[in-house]
């Protein structure tokens, strides 16, 4: 469909080891669409199938079954590749090149004339903050600098669709914010951005739609708002207790709460979603407490992520794995 940047239908990929006769199902029927002009976050734990999906989309691996199209063109078509920018996971580039030479190589492969290549490389190298390292070979770059160089080469052709595999990986908080800003800037310029990550704060901050993938399948798909606000999980209440109220005297207030924590004279607790909040507040006021905050607690993306991911793979739940990376 012409209004879709990415259309993936029932994509599957099974790796086979010829000698060991082992089969590894990396993708087990992944389906999703990305509309043009969206920022789409592809989230999942390590080994979920994020990178395999991206590699299949970029023509690096051949799907075992299923179909996909990019900007209305079938996978691997040159017409699509001309309009796509790609940053691979943990980017490995020719380390004997400088960032300018790397951008020049990308520009040549996109068929850009020399003057346009030079001008675009200058602009992008400045944009990703590597102007001061122009003369250095990539061998001397840190991981974060390589990530920036990778972003510069990915944007050489002024792509309509930008595919970024773990673009925040290896970056410090400032670097991550700069990449987030760059992604937002691309969206504002009408581009579509598809990126994978396991840093949930980045996803919540900038994406229009999210897919959570685990065990080679899509576990949840929608806008961050749709995914996390479908149900109220409880009521967060914070009250200030009267001075001198002993620790044991707040038992009547805590009764029935699903969790409670007292720090000094401040009591924070969560009431069940179906609790009679009005009568609880009346009881608290009668005991001399002052209400500081009452707010419904929705499921966070992090909670949803953990629930969907561990639900997809009981082994992860037992091992306590599959936890998302929480950004500092």
């Amino acid at each position: 469909m012409e209004d879709l940047a990415i259309d993936v239908q029932d994509l599957a990929k099974t790796y086979r080891t010829p000698l060991a006769r082992k089969k590894v199902e990396a993708l087990r029927g992944v389906s999703f669409t990305v509309e043009r002009g969206q920022i789409f976050g592809f989230v999942g734990p390590n080994g979920a199938g994020k990178t395999t999906t991206i590699r299949a989309l970029m023509g690096l691996v051949r799907p075992t079954s299923g179909t996909a199209s990019l900007l209305g063109h079938p996978l691997g078509s040159r017409a699509a590749k001309r309009r796509i920018g790609f940053l691979p996971e943990s980017p490995y580039f020719y380390d004997y090149l400088t960032v300018g030479e790397l951008c020049d190589l990308a520009g040549r492969l996109f068929g850009m004339p020399p003057a346009a290549r030079r001008a675009r490389a200058d602009e992008l190298i400045a944009k990703v903050g590597l102007a001061g390292a122009r003369g250095q070979s990539l061998k001397k770059f840190s991981k974060g600098m390589l990530q920036r160089a990778g972003l510069a080469q990915a944007l050489m052709n002024d792509p309509e669709l930008v595919v970024l595999d773990e673009p925040m990986s290896g970056l410090d908080p400032i670097g991550r914010k700069e990449v987030r800003d760059l992604i937002l800037e691309l969206r504002d310029a009408g581009k579509t951005v598809f990126f994978s990550t396991h840093i949930l704060s980045d996803v919540e901050a900038i994406t229009d739609r999210v897919a959570i993938v685990a065990k080679g399948r899509i576990q949840a798909l929608g806008t961050p708002g749709e995914l996390v606000s479908r149900s109220v999980r409880g009521i967060d209440v914070v009250v200030r207790l009267p001075a001198g109220l002993a620790a044991g005297d707040d038992a009547a207030l805590i009764a029935g709460a699903t969790s409670a924590r007292r720090v000094g004279d401040e009591l924070s607790l969560m009431l069940p979603a179906d609790a009679d909040v009005d009568s609880w507040l009346a009881r608290a006021r009668a005991a001399g407490a002052k209400v500081v905050q009452v707010a419904p607690r929705h499921e966070t993306l992090e909670e949803l992520f953990v629930r969907r991911v561990t639900g997809a793979d009981p082994a992860l739940r037992e091992a306590g794995a599959g936890q998302p990376e929480v950004a500092p």
Partner: protein, 262 residues
């Protein structure tokens, strides 16, 4: 298409130019030419003969070994170091990539052979020996040998590890060089050995065609120091080399086309 192939070729050339080991090989070749100068002085009357022999042998040996060394890593490291990921996602076909890699390596090896040849010619001129058409033809044949060996190495590099590729390529080079001798040996052997040898030699490029000095062709002795082959022979050898290069690069491209870069 040409621009994309050229972009990869240029990058491959740049990579090789920044590998210090190549400069080591250059030093070895210049050193071997100086050795030839010394040996020539010892031989007194045959100084130019020694210069030609050592120079051509140096080009053939070091050129072919360099071709194998560079070739076996060429495609393998692109995959193992994942540098190919950012390239394949761009509008370039995999066969264009393989051809570009070969073209870039061909340029590197041509420069190397050119430097070797210049060193040899400089020594001949310094000794007052004439640079005959035989010498020029022998140099062209040596260059053809080196670029053919490079195609063999790249072919193996498209599906095998550098170690195995190196063994296979080295084996094919040696067998291709010794084909007439192996055929002669097989003539006196049992019929099944003759048949097996003939079939085995059919699937190996006739690299001996490029190292013809010192052999007998059509009953006549051929030597770079005297009567050498005509240009028509060089053209036929070039066609043979080009045919093998085309087949090997096409096969490498086909194998590369089917691979997953996981």
């Amino acid at each position: 298409m040409i621009a994309r192939i050229w972009a990869i070729a240029l990058n491959t050339f740049r990579e090789a130019a920044r590998i210090r080991v190549l400069y080591g090989i250059l030093v070895i070749v210049v050193g071997s030419n100086l050795l030839a100068l010394f040996l020539g002085e010892l031989a007194q009357h045959d100084a130019d003969r020694v210069a030609r022999d050592v120079g051509l042998a140096g080009i053939s040996l070091f050129g072919s070994l360099t071709a194998i060394f560079l070739g076996v890593f060429l495609l393998y490291t692109e995959v193992s170091r994942r540098t190919i990921h950012a390239i394949v996602a761009k509008p370039i076909s995999r066969w264009e990539f393989v051809l570009g890699k070969y073209a870039g390596m061909g340029i590197v090896l041509s420069v190397l052979v050119g430097v070797f040849a210049l060193a040899m010619l400089a020594m001949l001129v310094a000794q007052g020996a004439p640079v005959t058409s035989g010498v020029v033809k022998a140099l062209v044949l040596a260059w053809l040998e080196v670029v053919t060996v490079a195609a063999i190495a790249i072919f193996f590099s498209s599906f095998s590890t550098p170690f195995l590729s190196g063994i296979f390529a080295l084996g094919m080079w040696v067998i291709g060089r010794l084909t007439p001798d192996l055929e002669a040996q097989a003539r006196a052997a049992a019929p099944w050995i003759r048949t097996t040898t003939r079939i085995a030699l059919e699937i190996v490029p006739d690299i001996h065609l490029f190292a013809v000095s010192g052999r007998t062709l059509d009953g006549a002795a051929v030597s770079v120091h005297g009567e050498f082959v005509p240009w028509s022979y060089v053209a036929l050898a070039a066609a043979h080399g080009a045919g093998w290069i085309a087949c090997l690069i096409a096969l490498a491209a086909l194998l590369f086309h089917r691979r997953d870069f996981a």
